[in-house]
C-alpha cells in the first residue's frame, strides 16, 4: 500500500456524502408529488420552491464532491 492508494480510497469514501443528498432529494420530490397528487391545482405554486429546495439539498452533495476532488487533485 502506497500513500497514493490511500488517496484514491479517501476520494471514494468522500463520495459517501451523496447518500445524504440522495435521501434528501428523494424526500423533497416524493413529498412534492404527494402534495400535487392530492391537490393538482397547487402544482405551479410549489414548483419554484421545489427547485430551490432541490438546489439547497444538492449543495451538501456538492460539498462532498468538493472534498473528493480536493483529495484527488489538490492534496
Amino acid at each position: 500500500m502506497t500513500p497514493e492508494m490511500f488517496k484514491y480510497i479517501g476520494a471514494g469514501l468522500a463520495t459517501f456524502g451523496f447518500v445524504g443528498s440522495g435521501i434528501g432529494l428523494g424526500t423533497i420530490f416524493g413529498n412534492y408529488f404527494l402534495a400535487v397528487s392530492r391537490n393538482p391545482a397547487s402544482a405551479p405554486k410549489f414548483q419554484t420552491w421545489l427547485f430551490v429546495g432541490f438546489a439547497l439539498v444538492e449543495a451538501f452533495g456538492i460539498f462532498a464532491l468538493l472534498i473528493a476532488l480536493m483529495i484527488m487533485f489538490v492534496i
Partner: protein
Amino acid sequence: MAEKSGDGEKSAFDLMHQFDITPLAGLENTPLAFVTNSAFFMILTVAVIAVLMVVLTLSAKVVPGRGQTISEMIFDFGFGMVDDILGKKGRSFVTFLLSIFLFVFVANILGMMPYSFTVFSHISLTAFMAVIIFLMVIYVGVSRHGLKWFGIFAPAGVPGWLLPLIVVIEIISFFMRPLTHSLRLFANLTAGHIVLKVIGTFAAGAGATSLLTILGGLFLTPVLFALSALEYLVAYLQAYIFTLLAAVYLAEAIEPHH
C-alpha cells in the same frame, strides 16, 4: 484539474481531455492565440442569442407571428419567474436574470453538440458569475436598506441565548453561497459529460475484439440515447436553477424579512 489527468497517468480513455482549453486550430502562434475554444464558444453563444432574438423580432407586430411568439414566450418565462420570486418590485432585474439564463442555457446546449466545448465545465467561469451575483446582492441590499440590511444575519423570533450561534451559522452560510452556486453548475456539467464520454466510449469504441464487447456496445447504445436526453434536461435544469438561485438571493436583498 483537466491538465493533471493528461500527463503521467495512462488510461484507456482520456476522460478529461474534452475539457482542455487550447487555442483554436490555426491560431496557435499568432497574436490571436487568446481566442481559445472556451472563448470561441462563449462568443458563439452570445452571437446565437443575439442573432436568434433579432431574427425572431425582425417584423414585430401587434398580432405576433410565429417567430415573435417564441421570443414572447422567452420573455414571459423571465417575467413569470421574477414576478414569482421578486414580486413587482424586482421588475428591473428581469433583463439581468434573463441574460444569465439565456447565456447558461444556450452555452449548455451548444456544449452538447459533438466535438464542441462545454464552457461551463470550468469553475473559473461559473465562479466568476457567482461572485458577480454575490457582490450585486450585497450592493443592492446595502444601497436600498443601508447598514440595517445586515440584520438578515439575525432572524426574528430566535431566543436570545441561541442568537450568537445563529448569527455565526447565518454568516457562514451567506459566504458559502457563491461556492455552492458555482460548484453546482460546474459539477453537474462536468460529471454529466464524463458519464456521456464513458458510456460513449463503451458503446461506440468497444471494437470487435470479442463477442462480449459487441453485445455490450449494442446494449449500451440505447443507454447512450437516454443519457443524452437526460443531459439536455440537465442543461435546461441547471440553467434554470442557477437563475432561480440568483433571483432568490436578490429577493433577500430587495425585501429582507427579519
